[in-house]
């Protein structure tokens, strides 16, 4: 509890006390998301970003193929919401997502703060932190022996904290690493409340408007880790996404393929049970529209 309060205070102080930069920061990624992960980018002050994300069903494998038109007739997860640039460093967002894990019907507020921005003649990297809270509004089932029995209200909640460190190496290549911590207040028998993970993301500019993007999130402990075998044979897999990004001026359109079903960090990091090698990957897209307020 004390650690949480301390972290909150530091975050708030940093948000308003750190000075603005003289030099405009380099754009390391075109968007505030890579595919599954956030990028180091934050919104400019008083920009409002309305965003819709969608993950279809399995494209191939036993649950994909012709039966459901290669996943296009299913929705693994859907996200809709907005984020706003409170300052040039701080973005606040609120999203509703369907959810793809044990917790469903999710409300996800987040704060994202850029501590360091890469500059031509300044800092060599950008550093951004993200805190995300998730609250499930799914119906409580008193018969359940699962997570949705919700013995306490706090059991509806999960949290994720991420630090993103990124560098734009040249006009074409940007790379990012993302150490993360995800906490769920209630988990199934023998599951782990705290999951540490390491993510990697990259962007390669292919043409003036099209870029290739990819990200990978590897859970490091608990049942989610590939280094540990689940006694009940419930298999988890690292989340891997690849995609193409079109910058059409006013908005960014992205088409991607990923094995992750959930969209939010508290969802896809501890809950990815689908495997690329079994054809269990899906088409996803994100539409984002920016407004000046």
């Amino acid at each position: 509890m004390i650690k949480n309060v301390t972290f909150s205070i530091i975050f708030l102080l940093a948000a308003f006390v750190l000075p603005a930069q003289d030099e405009p920061p380099l754009r390391i990624f075109k968007d505030t998301r890579v595919i599954n992960t956030h990028s180091v980018e934050v919104l400019q002050k008083r920009k409002l970003d309305i965003r819709i994300g969608h993950r279809f069903g399995d494209l191939a494998g036993a649950n994909g193929g012709w039966a459901n038109f290669y996943g296009l007739e299913n929705a693994a997860d859907v996200m809709i919401g907005a984020e706003y640039g409170v300052t040039d460093r701080l973005t606040a967002g609120l999203y509703r997502s369907k959810g793809a894990g044990d917790l469903r019907a999710l409300v996800n507020p987040f704060l994202k703060y850029r501590f360091i921005a890469q500059e031509e003649k300044g800092a060599p990297v950008s550093l951004t932190a993200l805190t995300l809270g998730t609250i499930s509004t799914m119906q409580r089932n008193t018969e359940s022996t699962g997570v949705n029995s919700f013995p306490k209200f706090s059991h509806r909640m999960a949290y994720a904290v991420q630090v993103m460190l990124a560098r734009r190496f040249n006009d074409r290549l940007s790379l990012q690493i993302i150490p993360s911590f995800t906490h769920r207040n209630l988990v199934a028998f023998e599951d782990t409340n705290d999951v540490f993970s390491m993510g990697m993301a990259g962007r390669v500019q292919l043409t003036k408007v099209i870029a290739f993007v990819a990200d990978f999130t590897l859970p490091l402990n608990g049942l989610q880790s590939p280094f540990q075998e689940d006694p009940e044979g419930f298999e988890y897999f690292p989340a891997l996404g690849v995609g193409l990004e079109w910058d059409t001026g006013g908005h960014v359109f992205q088409l991607n393929l990923t094995n992750a079903e959930g969209i939010m960090e508290t969802d896809y990091i501890p809950n990815t049970t689908t495997n690329w090698l079994d054809g269990e990957f899906r088409i996803g897209f994100t539409i984002s529209r920016m407004f000046n307020l």
Partner: protein, 127 residues
């Protein structure tokens, strides 16, 4: 208008930060207990489970290809059986069948639920 959005976002920010320490628990659900008759009764897909699945899962608009998991055959169920999804959603979380299913199909009756529980515990044999 601008100051409205700015003030709103600051208030939202404060609410978010306040939420973080509200509650942080490290709770784990207890192990699910199996019915006693699981030790003596052999449950198979063809004999016992198929009628349950056809009635409560693989009907038109649900696991007949309209939603993830095509449960029209044993082979169709196998990937989600192996991944543990069927156990998780049907026995642990009990949110399958879902509350929005057709009338009378919103949940497995106790006898069918226990049969499913035993079948999963016995390694979901086909025959």
């Amino acid at each position: 208008m601008k100051s409205f959005f700015y003030t709103s976002s600051l208030l939202f920010l404060l609410a978010c930060v306040a939420l973080i320490p509200v509650s942080c628990d490290n709770d784990q659900l207890p192990e699910v207990e199996e019915p006693e008759f699981c030790d003596t009764l052999e449950v198979s897909y063809q004999l016992n489970i198929r009628p349950i699945v056809e009635t409560y899962c693989a009907y038109s608009g649900c696991h007949d290809g309209s939603s993830p998991g095509v449960y029209l055959s044993y082979e169709g169920m196998l990937p989600n059986l192996n991944s543990g999804q069927v156990r998780e959603r049907t026995v642990n979380t009990r949110d399958m069948p879902p509350s929005y299913a057709n009338a009378g199909l919103e949940e497995l009756p106790p006898a069918e639920f226990e049969m499913m529980q035993c079948w999963l515990e016995q390694g979901f044999p086909e025959q």
